[in-house]
Symmetry: C2
Subunit: 331 residues, 2 copies
């Protein structure tokens, strides 16, 4: 069994040339595991949503994991190891947010070169944990050639409606996002431009922050669940890609009327950039959702369109929405 | 922030030259996180044991994670990707066994080159999951230069005594192991010898199996907990190293009278080899433990010595036990 060397053709946030990989591989893995495993208990959801939904006598336990790889998900030329740690933590927590769950606890695995500044890395991890109310309760530490941070998180749903799946959207449901998109992608681009010109980055602190220190929308996810969201997903791969995941799982199409774009970002950033970690929510009662968010003092979610009954329909302002967003190449 | 290249001086199962790294780093990380995090609730144990112990209205939730890196923990010259997957899964499950817990669910993260044979890797993961009764319910998949498999598992303790910590051993307690040790290290050595001579490995199938397909001792761990174990740890770094972890946490010393060595292995393999995943148990009532194991049809655990009240005492047949076992080098 040979494992070839570095895959230098794979760079941050650029879609691969052959988009046949990651999602097909996940589907194949799921089918292979299904043959050996018992069925999930009623109400449980295993592989395929943002987090696994496990039944628990006192409610629902959520479980999710996420990997962050230096040079793939995080460019250490334009951010610190603390930022990488923060982002790794938020990427996993965002999966709990996307189910409408409350964060529980996290375990963190770090594989990296022995010279890695663990104190700086864990500073970012600890800041993200404290800021989102999800303590780190254990982990593992090992040497490897390349820095890989794995974060696994639990979450819970104890009151109100159950976890919000990707698969519950119905034709006619409104689609909303919890905030403007594209900030992370624009921040990445600007940070790289400054780096190439050997200038210190300045003038777009909001976008740099959006890229280096995104937030998991945990309160927003819970508010969406309680106010009757029918489906939800977080924007990790890019709005266009993540909307397609939700539409496929729900067997609906969608018509978008417009996208809220972060100041300084382009609509292309907003559609394809990913890693904004805002939530996309489907609901049959958008007013109830807006009311709930307002009552909690959260930013008002923005309607971007609606679900339709033709699963092939994917449009923005009447034009076909081109596929974009990030997928890892797997053979 | 620079991340240097491959650390070629770090090879499988050989202790590093400077043993100051991993455990000191973990302690530093724990202290750093403690400053930012709330205290664990009464009865909870966070960083520092085999698995985190989290309070749950209906019992105890256990949570652990483990990373397996190709070339560090698993040599793909002498095992298949399915074996690597199996071992990665068992390494995490063994942390649940070492608390006396029942396995719950697992999430698996895989970072690796796009050409990685995911089907073969997940065959081993799926086999380990089915064989140990711990379904895979989610995960993450990403590209990286080197194959890293992260497994996070939950577990539960619902009846009888609570989880067995590393820290509960008292002077006078007997020390037992659940099986002969050194098989994994001897299997690794023989597989490499055959490989160097370009011979197909044969003649020591039990040892090859011990290295490629170790088992997590989940039933043994539960039996030990129910029969009054005072402390427990799994043999992952090597008996000598893991006993020291337990003795330090319990503030006791130990006198070993002898070690059960796997057929074909040496006592050095048994003391320093690691990755056998047998359990080391302290108890004030070894007869009750032997009775419980016998009643369940489990292999009878073997007494290897006892705990003493001098924390500096670490002997085997009256001789000072030299430190051995595996620790990752961290600066």
């Amino acid at each position: 069994l040979s494992i070839p060397g570095p895959n230098s053709d794979h760079t941050l946030s650029e879609p691969p040339k052959t988009p046949r990989g990651e999602f097909a591989a996940i589907e194949r893995i799921r089918r292979g595991l299904d043959r050996r495993q018992p069925r999930p208990a009623p109400g449980e959801v295993w592989i395929g949503d943002d987090a696994a939904v496990l039944s628990d006598p006192n409610g629902i336990l959520l479980l999710a994991t996420d990997l962050t790889v230096a040079g793939v998900h995080a460019d250490l030329e334009i951010m610190g190891l603390d930022d990488l740690g923060w982002r790794a933590f938020v990427a996993a927590l965002s999966d709990i947010a996307a189910m409408g769950g409350k964060p529980g606890h996290a375990v963190v695995g770090v594989a990296g070169p022995p010279s890695t500044d663990l104190d700086l890395l864990y500073e970012g991890i600890g800041e993200a944990a404290a800021s989102h109310g999800c303590p780190v309760v254990g982990g593992d530490l090992t040497t490897a050639d390349q820095l890989v941070v794995s974060v696994a998180v639990t979450g819970s749903v104890v009151d109100g409606p159950g976890p919000v799946l990707r698969s519950g959207a119905a034709p006619g449901d409104s689609l909303l996002v919890t905030g403007a998109l594209g900030g992370s992608a624009a921040g990445l681009r600007l940070l790289r431009e400054h780096r190439a010109r050997r200038q210190p980055p300045s003038g777009a602190e909001g976008l740099f922050q959006a890229h280096r220190r995104p937030c998991a929308r945990l309160e927003e996810g819970e508010a969406a669940r309680r106010s009757g969201a029918s489906a939800m997903i977080d924007v990790s791969d890019g709005l266009a890609a993540d909307l397609v995941h939700m539409a496929k799982a729900s067997v609906v199409g969608f018509e978008l009327t417009g996208i809220p774009v972060a100041a300084g970002a382009t609509e292309k950033d907003a559609l394809g950039g990913g890693e904004d970690y805002e939530l996309v929510v489907a609901t049959s009662d958008p007013s109830a959702m807006v009311e709930e968010f307002t009552a909690l003092g959260l930013r008002v979610p923005v309607v971007i369109g609606c679900c339709t009954d033709d699963p092939r329909e994917r449009t923005l302002r009447g034009e076909k929405l081109e596929p974009s967003g990030f997928e890892h190449p797997w053979s």
